[in-house]
Symmetry: C2
Subunit: 152 residues, 2 copies
C-alpha cells in the first residue's frame, strides 16, 4: 500500500475499509453511487478513503439494522456539513430520529394486531363493517410495483 507519509496510513483502500467495516467491497461501491460515502481517487483511479468513512459505515450498518432504508440514511448523512464523518452528537440526533420511527412502526403493528384480535372468530369477513377490511385501506390505490410489508 503506497503510504503518503510516515506513521499510520492516512488513507484507506476499498479493501481495507471493507475488511475493517465488515462489508463487501461491492457494497461500498454501491453506497458510493447512492451518495452515502465519498472517495478520492489515486493516480490509477482507485478509491482512497479518509478514516472517517469507517464511522460513516458504522452508522449505515446500525441504521440498517434498525430498519432504516438506505435512501433515508443517505439524506441524514448528506445533512452533515462538508460531508464530514458523524460525531457523537450527530449520531445522537440521527438515532433519536430513527428510534422515533421505530416506535411509530411498533405502534402501527400494535394497532393492526388489535384489529386482528377483534376479527378473529367474529366471522365479520363477509361484512362491509370489518375494520381490517375497510379502515385505512391504502392498498391497491398505488399503481404498479411492489408494496412493502410494513409501509410507513
Amino acid at each position: 500500500m503506497a503510504d503518503e507519509g510516515g506513521g499510520p496510513s492516512r488513507f484507506l483502500s476499498v479493501g481495507e475499509v471493507a475488511r475493517r467495516a465488515g462489508v463487501a467491497v461491492s457494497a461500498l461501491h454501491f453506497y458510493e453511487t447512492k451518495g452515502l460515502i465519498q472517495s478520492l481517487r489515486s493516480a490509477g483511479n482507485q478509491r482512497r478513503y479518509p478514516r472517517g468513512v469507517l464511522r460513516r459505515v458504522a452508522v449505515i450498518k446500525v441504521a440498517q439494522r434498525a430498519g432504516v432504508p438506505l435512501a433515508e440514511i443517505a439524506t441524514a448523512l448528506a445533512a452533515l456539513p462538508d460531508g464530514r464523518a458523524p460525531t457523537a452528537a450527530d449520531w445522537a440526533a440521527m438515532s433519536a430520529r430513527w428510534k422515533a420511527d421505530l416506535e411509530a412502526r411498533i405502534e402501527r403493528l400494535g394497532r393492526l394486531r388489535d384489529q386482528l384480535s377483534l376479527c378473529i372468530g367474529c366471522g365479520c369477513l363477509s361484512l362491509d363493517t370489518c375494520p381490517l377490511r375497510n379502515a385505512d385501506d391504502r392498498l391497491g390505490a398505488a399503481g404498479p410495483g411492489a408494496r412493502l410489508l410494513d409501509p410507513g
Copy 2:
C-alpha cells in the same frame, strides 16, 4: 350473464368477483397462478367462481394487511380440505397464527428499539462491543436481493 337455474346466480364471473371483493381482475388472475384461488371454466373458457371465493379473497386481503406474504397465505389456504372456502373456524385458526407472527415482529422491533436506545449517545459505534453492530447479525448473510424492512 347466463344463469344456470333460477334465483341468484350460483357462479360469479371475474368481473363480478373483482367488483364485489374490491380487487382488480388482474389481481384475481395473479392469485390464481399462485394457487390462492381456483376457478371453473365456462364453455367459452371464461372463469366461473363459486361464491366461496369472496370469502377467500376477504381472507387474503386481511392477511395482507397484517403483513402476511402471499406465499404464506397460499400455504394456509391450501391446507383447507378440497380447496373449500374458509369457515369461521378455519379463519380463527389462521388468523391466530398470523397474530402470533405479528406479535413476534413487534417484539423483535421492541428489542431493536431498546438496543438503539442504549447506543444513542454512547458513541460506541467505533467499538467492537456495540450490541447493534454485532449481536444477531444476520444482514449480509442472505445472498443477493432486497431485504424487507422488517424480516421475520
